[in-house]
C-alpha cells in the first residue's frame, strides 16, 4: 500500500480525555513499522480540563516533516466530536479533505452553563459534509456505550478510519499496536470496539 499524497496530513481532533494521543500514537507507531517517516504533533495543554485538543500525523516516504500542518492542508480528518471536526475544518480543511466524524456531541462548559448554545446537530453534520470531499459519520460514542465502555469511543473511531482505506494500514497493524498498550483484560473489549468501528462505515457505502 502507498500513500495518496506525500506528505499525507492526518488530523485527529476531539475533547481532552477522549484519547487523541493514544490514537495518534497507535497510528504513528504502526506507520513507522511500515517504513514511513512519521511526525506526530500534539496540542494537549488543556487535555484534562475539557479543552479542545488535536493531534496531527504527517506521513511521508521522502523526509521527516515538522509537526505542524499548514492551514488548508489536512488531507484526512478524524473527528472524535462533531463541533471539533468543524473547528479543524475551518482552519485546516480544503476541498479535498476526507472526513470521518463522530456525531455524538460533548457539550462545552459554556453550553452546560447556558451561556452559549451548541449548534444544531443536523446543521453541523451538513456543514461538515459541505466542507469535505467525502464525509462519513458514525455515532461512535453510542457504539462504545453499548459495549459498556464510553472510553473505547476512540478505538471505534480508529476502526472506522482503517476501514476507509485512506491510510496504508490494515486492521491487524492497529491490533498489534493495541497489544503493546492494552492489558490482555482490556484488549478483548477494545478489539470488539475496533471491529464495530470497522463495520460502521461499511454500512454507509
Amino acid at each position: 500500500m502507498a500513500i495518496s499524497r506525500d506528505p499525507l496530513n492526518l488530523i485527529i481532533c476531539g475533547v481532552g480525555g477522549q484519547g487523541n494521543i493514544l490514537l495518534s500514537g497507535l497510528i504513528g507507531s504502526a506507520l513507522i513499522k511500515k517504513g514511513y517517516q512519521v511526525t506526530v504533533g500534539e496540542t494537549f495543554g488543556a487535555a484534562q480540563r475539557g479543552g479542545a485538543v488535536f493531534s496531527s500525523v504527517r506521513i511521508s516516504q521522502r523526509r521527516s516533516y515538522g509537526p505542524l500542518v499548514p492551514e488548508g492542508k489536512a488531507h484526512l480528518l478524524l473527528g472524535l466530536e462533531p463541533l471539533e471536526t468543524l473547528r479543524i475544518l475551518q482552519k485546516y480543511g480544503y476541498a479535498e479533505t476526507v472526513c470521518i466524524s463522530n456525531t455524538y456531541p460533548v457539550f462545552p462548559i459554556g453550553v452546560l452553563a447556558t451561556k452559549e448554545e451548541y449548534p444544531d446537530c443536523d446543521e453541523l453534520k451538513e456543514t461538515i459534509r459541505s466542507l469535505s470531499k467525502v464525509a462519513w459519520f458514525l455515532d461512535a460514542t453510542n457504539i462504545a456505550l453499548e459495549l459498556g465502555a464510553q472510553i473505547a469511543t476512540n478505538i471505534v473511531m480508529v476502526g472506522a478510519l482503517i476501514s476507509s482505506a485512506q491510510l496504508p494500514l490494515a486492521r491487524n497493524d492497529i491490533e498489534d499496536e493495541m497489544r503493546e498498550v492494552f492489558s490482555p483484560e482490556r484488549m478483548e473489549l477494545n478489539l470488539k470496539a475496533l471491529e464495530l468501528g470497522f463495520g460502521a462505515l461499511r454500512s454507509q457505502n
Binding site: S64, P67, L68, G93, Y94, I109, E117, P119, S130
Partner: protein, 638 residues
C-alpha cells in the same frame, strides 16, 4: 511491555521529544537525573523514573528546580554524568546557582552536567514566553537547540561529552513543539553505568574570585565556539548561491521547509539551520551570508539568532556587500507566539511578492462563515469532583459574609483556573510559583498605611513545598496579618500526578518520610486549622474565624485528594446523585449549572429542570449542598 531503556539499539521507534531527551541521557550513560515537574518538560524525568531501577540510575522529583540543579551538580562533581530538567519558568528559580556554576567549573574529574530547559512559545501552559537562550549568553553557558526529535536524542548525548570536555555545564533548549511531538527516532547503544561516585577533598570549587574566573570562562567559550563552527548540528540545504537565505533554529527549521515547498521556492531559497546557538558560530554564518543578498531569520521566540546575525553583518570585515535582513525586526516574522509554516509562507510571499492561497477562496469563505455561525469556544473548567471548586465556593462565601473586601493572592496549579472564564473570580493577584504567599505577606504588612482589608494567600501542596515556605516564614518573622489557605490535594496534579515531600513516595515509587505540612506550619508559629473542602459550610466558617483573628499568620489547610487521583486508586463513586424534579425550580434558579458550573450538571430545556450528566458525574455530591431548593439528592453507594 517495551520502554525507552529496553528498545534495542539500531531500531527506529516513535518517541516523544521528551522521551528522546531521556533516551539520549541513557545513551550518554547519565546516572543521576533530577527535576521539578512543569509543562512541557515533565515527561523527561517522568520517563526516566519508570526505568530508573532497571537501568541502575538515580532519578528524583526534587522540591524545586534550584534544588534539582544543585543535586545534579553535586553528582557531577562526584564524577557522574547528571541531568537536570525544567520548564522555562523553572530556569528562573535556579538561575542564581547557574550563574555561579560555570565560574567554578564542574571539576577536574567532573561528570558531564546537562541542564534541559523546555521553553513554551505561545505560552500553551505558562505565564510567559521566556526565551532561555538569553540566559546562556548571560551566564556564559554553551547552548544547543535541537531541530528535530532525532536531534533531541543525539544532541543530549553530545551535550554530556561537550560538558566533560570543557568542564562546564551545557544547556539543551527544548520547546513545546519538540517536547510534545513524536517522531521516528533511530536509537543508539545504552552503556552499563558503573562509574563510582567520589570527590577529591583536596579541591575546592567556587566562583570566588570571579573576575579572573570570568576571564577564563570566556577563553573556554572561545574554544566552544571553535567546536561549534564545524558542528554537524549546523547544516545547510539549498542552492549554492541562494537568492534568499533562511537562517533558523528549532521549530523555525521544519516550518521553513514547509513554506519553501508550499511556494515552490526550492531553487531560490536555501536554509541554514543552526543547532549550536551559544556561543554563536559567527564564522560559519558569515560564510553563508556572503553567498546571498537577502536573509530571513526564523526562530522562537525572541530575535536571538537575528540579533547575532545582524552583529555578524555589522562587523566591518565580515561581508563586503551586506545582505538585507528580514525577520522580527522588519515585521516579517512574529515577535510573540509560535512559528508556524503559515507564518513563514507569509514572510516569504511578502519578500518575493508572490500570491499564495492555501485553498480555494470560495471554500475559505464558506469555512469562515460556517465557523462564525456554528463554532463556539470550549472553555476550561475544574474537573467534576475537583476539590478546588468546593474550596473556591467556600472561599467566596466566606469573603462575602466577612464584608471587608478581602484580597486573594494565589499562584500556579489547577487552582489557577479560578481566573479563567469558568472560575469563581475570587483571585485578585496571581503570578508565579510561591508568589501567592509572598504577595499576601506584603499586603499583610500594610496596616500602618491604613490598609484594612483581610488578606488571603493561596497555594497548593506541591507549591507550598516548592516556593511558599520561605514566604510563610517571612510573614511570621515580619508580623504580617494574613490567612494562608493551602489547597492540599495530595499530589502535583496539574503536571500529571508527580509526588512531592508530602506524599510519602519518591519518583521511583519508594516509600519516603512524609514531610508533615501541618506540623511544619505550627513549628513556624502559625495557628493551623485543617478542613475538608467538600464540607463547604465548615470551611467557610473556619475561614471567617481565621480572618477575624488578627494575631499574625493563620493557616487553613483544605485537604481532599485530587479526584482524578482518587478515581485511579479507588475506582468507585461515593454517591449516586440525581435531581428531584418536583423541587428543582429550573431556569428561574439555575444555580447549579450557571453558577456552580460543574461539568456534570446541565439544563434540560424541554422539562426546564437541571439534570445530572451521568456519563460525566463522579458522584462527589458537593452540588447537593449548593442547591437553594435542596433539589439535588445524593445517596450513598453501599
Amino acid at each position: 511491555m517495551s520502554n525507552i531503556a529496553t528498545y534495542p539499539d539500531g531500531s527506529c521507534v516513535l518517541l516523544q521529544g521528551n522521551e528522546a531527551i531521556a533516551r539520549g541521557a541513557l545513551e550518554a550513560g547519565a546516572q543521576f537525573c533530577a527535576a521539578y515537574p512543569g509543562t512541557p518538560s515533565s515527561e523527561i524525568i517522568g520517563t526516566l523514573a519508570t526505568v530508573a531501577k532497571d537501568a541502575g540510575i538515580h532519578v528524583e522529583w526534587s522540591i524545586n528546580e534550584k534544588v534539582a540543579t544543585e543535586v545534579a551538580a553535586a553528582a557531577a562533581f562526584a564524577g557522574l554524568r547528571s541531568l537536570a530538567a525544567m520548564k522555562n519558568a523553572g530556569l528562573n528559580v535556579t538561575m542564581d546557582f547557574l550563574m555561579h556554576l560555570n565560574l567554578s567549573t564542574i571539576g577536574d574529574r567532573g561528570g558531564g552536567l546537562v541542564v534541559v530547559v523546555c521553553d513554551d512559545p505561545q505560552a500553551h501552559a505558562s505565564g510567559d514566553e521566556e526565551d532561555t537562550r538569553w540566559a546562556a549568553q548571560m551566564a556564559d553557558v554553551p547552548l544547543l537547540e535541537p531541530g528535530s526529535i532525532q536531534e533531541a536524542k543525539d544532541m543530549t548525548k553530545w551535550a554530556f561529552e561537550l560538558s566533560e570536555e570543557l568542564r562546564c555545564y551545557c544547556f539543551l533548549r527544548s520547546y513545546t513543539r519538540l517536547s510534545h511531538s513524536r517522531s521516528g527516532v533511530t536509537l543508539g547503544k545504552i552503556p552499563k553505568p558503573e562509574k563510582k561516585a567520589m570527590f577529591d577533598t583536596s579541591k575546592c570549587y567556587t566562583p570566588y574570585v570571579a573576575p579572573p574566573k570570568h576571564a577564563a570562562l570566556h577563553e573556554q567559550l572561545a574554544r566552544v565556539q571553535e567546536i561549534f563552527e564545524s558542528s554537524p548540528f549546523n547544516s545547510y540545504t539549498g542552492p549554492g548561491q541562494p537568492e534568499l537565505l533562511i537562517v533558523c533554529s528549532g521549530n523555525g527549521g521544519p516550518c521553513s521547509l514547509d513554506a519553501i515547498e508550499a511556494l515552490d521556492l526550492a531553487e531560490s531559497v536555501g536554509v541554514l539551520k543552526l543547532g549550536t546557538l551559544w556561543p554563536f558560530p559567527k564564522g560559519l554564518v558569515e560564510r553563508y551570508l556572503a553567498r546571498t543578498s537577502k536573509v530571513l531569520v526564523v526562530e522562537e521566540v525572541d530575535p536571538f539568532v537575528e540579533t547575532h546575525v545582524k552583529e555578524t553583518v555589522a562587523k566591518p570585515s565580515a561581508v563586503s556587500d551586506p545582505p538585507e535582513i528580514y525577520g522580527k525586526g522588519s515585521g516579517h516574522i512574529n515577535h510573540c507566539g509560535e512559528i508556524t509554516p503559515d507564518a513563514v509562507i507569509k514572510a516569504l510571499s511578502g519578500i518575493f511578492k508572490l500570491r499564495y492561497e492555501a485553498r480555494d477562496p470560495d471554500y475559505a469563505q464558506k469555512a469562515q462563515d460556517a465557523a462564525k455561525r456554528l463554532v463556539i469556544d470550549r472553555g476550561m473548567a475544574w474537573c467534576p469532583g475537583c476539590p478546588h471548586r468546593a474550596s473556591f465556593f467556600a472561599l467566596r462565601d466566606a469573603i462575602k459574609r466577612d464584608r471587608r473586601k478581602a484580597i486573594v493572592t494565589s499562584d500556579i496549579g489547577c487552582y489557577t483556573l479560578d481566573v479563567f472564564p469558568y472560575g469563581t473570580h475570587q483571585t485578585n493577584v496571581l503570578h508565579c510559583m510561591g508568589s501567592g504567599l509572598g504577595e499576601a505577606c506584603g499586603f499583610g504588612e500594610l496596616a500602618q498605611f491604613g490598609f484594612e482589608q483581610p488578606v488571603i494567600g493561596i497555594c497548593g501542596d506541591s507549591t507550598f513545598f516548592h516556593a511558599s515556605v520561605p514566604a510563610l516564614m517571612n510573614a511570621v518573622h515580619n508580623k504580617a496579618n494574613m490567612t494562608v489557605v493551602i489547597l492540599d490535594n495530595g499530589i502535583t496534579a496539574m503536571t500529571g500526578f508527580q509526588p512531592h515531600p508530602g506524599t510519602g513516595r519518591t519518583a521511583t515509587q519508594d516509600a519516603a518520610t512524609v514531610v508533615d505540612m501541618d506540623a511544619l506550619c505550627r513549628a513556624m508559629g502559625c495557628r493551623v486549622e485543617v478542613k475538608d473542602p467538600f464540607d463547604m459550610k465548615e470551611t467557610s466558617a473556619a475561614l471567617r474565624e481565621l480572618m477575624r483573628d488578627e494575631n499574625g499568620v493563620k493557616v487553613l489547610i483544605l485537604r481532599r485528594k485530587c479526584e482524578l487521583l482518587r478515581m485511579r486508586q479507588e475506582r468507585t463513586y461515593p454517591y449516586k446523585v440525581w435531581v428531584d424534579v418536583e423541587l428543582c425550580k429550573g431556569d428561574k434558579c439555575g444555580y447549579c449549572y450557571k453558577v456552580f458550573q460543574c461539568p456534570g450538571i446541565s439544563w434540560d430545556k424541554e422539562s426546564d429542570k437541571a439534570q445530572i450528566q451521568e456519563a460525566v458525574c463522579v458522584g462527589c455530591g458537593v452540588c447537593a449542598a449548593t442547591c437553594p431548593s435542596k433539589a439535588i439528592i445524593k445517596e450513598e453507594i453501599g
